[in-house]
């Protein structure tokens, strides 16, 4: 028992040693190319505080109310009867209580905390992944059911869709969507990127769903149909719930891939996480730091998704 524990501990120590060695190798490599790390340039792209100046929008009277030792509540009562209220730093105030203000007078300023471009990029990546996942499931479900249809038209269309998408590079698909379809149909870059990703993931989801449905014993379909339930009811209540439980792991893998693949939409100038990173590199010259940072952010997204899926799987496993 104890010796087993020691053995395991030894290998854990080895793991740590290997990781330290790799980290050391990285610093040696960067020394070789005379690279200076400027990690301190990165945090401002997550969040920053900036000064926002507040102006009067009309002629009127100013009323000031001290809130605490730092901030004051300003309310501007304009002559035309409207009103503006906002908070400013007390030491930035240019007027006193009861003063007249005229249009475009600077009243004061306030320090605001805002999100940087990395956070905005992260949100864009999340949005585009979420929208294309939802659409992708719908496309995949329709195409997957089409693939097992007995009707040659439906089956043919579904097969052509799946083969066409799986046989061409995603990057090319994105270009086609943006430059060709985007121009013809007048859709913006975000919609074009989302649609390209959705169709892409849909083709893979279709194959996963088809395999999942076909893995359910035919007796399930027969039992349900023999009770008088139609094809649609049987799919909804009997086949798909069982199939979805089985295809959860490959489906999750597909959506994790999608998050990573979404970085390709940066080529059509959508400011996702990757594009945000490239923009920062050009202004800070901290290229490596930015690359490692966005890689870590992608990793954070994919790891939390796979943890969520593992949790759901455990919850689902109860009824078997």
């Amino acid at each position: 028992m104890l010796s087993n524990l020691l053995k395991k501990g030894f290998w854990y120590l080895c793991l740590v040693a290997v990781l330290v060695f790799l980290g050391w190798g990285l610093t040696v490599m960067t020394d070789k190319i005379d690279y200076t790390w400027y990690w301190n340039r990165i945090p401002q792209y997550f969040f920053f505080t900036g000064e926002v100046e507040k102006f009067a929008n009309e002629n009127g009277t100013i009323h000031i109310q001290q809130l605490d030792d730092k901030f004051s509540q300003v309310s501007l009562e304009y002559d035309i009867g409207t009103k503006d209220t906002f908070k400013v730093r007390t030491d930035s105030l240019k007027f006193q209580d009861g003063d007249r203000v005229t249009d475009v007078d600077k009243v004061g300023a306030l320090q605001v905390f805002s999100q940087g471009i990395l956070i905005e990029g992260l949100i864009t990546t999340l949005e585009i992944s979420l929208y294309s996942s939802v659409l992708g499931i719908i496309f995949g479900l329709v195409a997957g059911l089409g693939r097992i249809s007995k009707n040659p038209l439906i089956k043919g269309l579904a097969t052509i869709y799946v083969e066409l998408i799986r046989g061409t590079p995603l990057l090319v698909q994105i270009f086609i969507f943006y430059f060709f379809l985007g121009t013809v149909l007048q859709i913006d870059r975000f919609a074009a990127g989302t649609m390209a990703l959705a169709l892409f993931v849909g083709a893979y989801v279709a194959e996963i769903i088809r395999a999942g449905i076909q893995s359910i014993h035919p007796g399930q379909m027969e039992a349900s149909r023999s009770l008088g339930m139609n094809y649609f009811q049987t799919m909804t209540y009997i086949i798909l719930p069982q199939a979805f439980k089985r295809i959860m792991p490959p489906l999750a893998g597909q959506f994790i891939s999608l998050i990573k693949d979404s970085s390709l939409v940066s080529v059509i100038a959508i400011t996702d996480l990757t594009k945000a990173g490239r923009e920062i590199s050009t202004s800070t010259f901290a290229t490596f730091e930015v690359l490692f940072t966005i890689a870590a952010m992608y990793l954070m997204l994919t790891l939390s998704l796979s943890m969520l899926v593992r949790y759901i799987e455990r919850r689902f496993a109860v009824s078997d």
Binding site: R225, S226, G228, M229, Y237, Q242, S319
Partner: protein, 244 residues
């Protein structure tokens, strides 16, 4: 009640054409119990599955209460709701509890309220002797219990006829009895039944007719006594000597 007229069903397996059911005709009257016997691969299951269109016939005609079930205008789902089927491998829905298994089609096809369905389910579970298992999942039941749930599920639709496709073949020997007992009760209550089975004891007790099939053809029909005492066909004699 059920009239099977000259039906054929062929399967194409690779390059072989298998005549699973070859020009078969028979009929089952209301309240009758018909037991179909025959060696494996003789087409008895296929014949049964044709009755509720799990297999579509190539030619011939099947009438249930004078309705041609293969006619283009016949709503097959309606027919199937009237024809209960019990499978060799139970085919319960593993992701649903026993109660949900029996409730589902009642609610979705018969449009009963949840309360009505529950009442029917409770009644049927009592009838098949497993009323305490309503809330467990099929995988937690023994084979015999699962098959009894399957029978209850089919009965919940108030079928006019029950089809049993080798209902005891997949069971451990000590569980055969409990399933047969339920089937005997049903037969004695006057349910119309078509049973593919080699349980000759069951046949002897309740069957009105026994149908012997071989190589897709019905080769002999008679009452059970006829089969036990003096079957006409050599093939039937050979077959019965092997299973009895």
């Amino acid at each position: 009640m059920i009239k099977i007229d000259n039906i054929c069903k062929t399967f194409i397996v690779g390059t072989h054409v298998v005549k699973a059911v070859d020009h078969c005709s028979t009929h089952i009257k209301k309240g009758e119990v018909v037991v179909v016997i025959g060696p494996s691969g003789s087409g008895k299951s296929t014949l049964l599955r044709c009755i509720n269109q799990l297999e579509t016939i190539d030619s011939g005609q099947i009438l249930i209460d004078d309705v041609d079930i293969t006619h283009r205008k016949t709503n097959i789902n309606k027919i199937r709701a009237e024809v209960g089927m019990v499978f060799q491998s139970f085919n319960l829905f593993p992701h649903k509890s026993v109660q949900e298994n029996i409730n589902l089609a009642q609610q979705k096809v018969r449009k009963r309220s949840k309360k009505e369905a529950n009442e029917k389910t409770d009644y049927l579970l009592k009838k098949v002797g497993i009323e305490q298992k309503a809330h467990v999942f099929p995988s937690q039941l023994s084979g015999g219990q699962q098959q009894r749930v399957a029978i209850a599920r089919a009965l919940a639709m108030d079928p006019k006829i029950m089809l049993f496709d080798e209902p005891t073949s997949a069971l451990d020997p000590e569980m055969v009895g409990e399933v047969l007992e339920v089937m005997l009760t049903l037969a004695k209550e006057g349910m119309t039944m078509a049973v593919v089975s080699h349980e000759m004891g069951f046949a002897r007790e309740v069957a009105d007719a026994v149908v012997m099939m071989d190589e897709g053809k019905i080769i002999e029909v008679g009452d059970p006594e006829h089969f036990f005492t003096n079957p006409d066909q050599e093939r039937t004699k050979l077959f019965l000597s092997q299973i009895l």
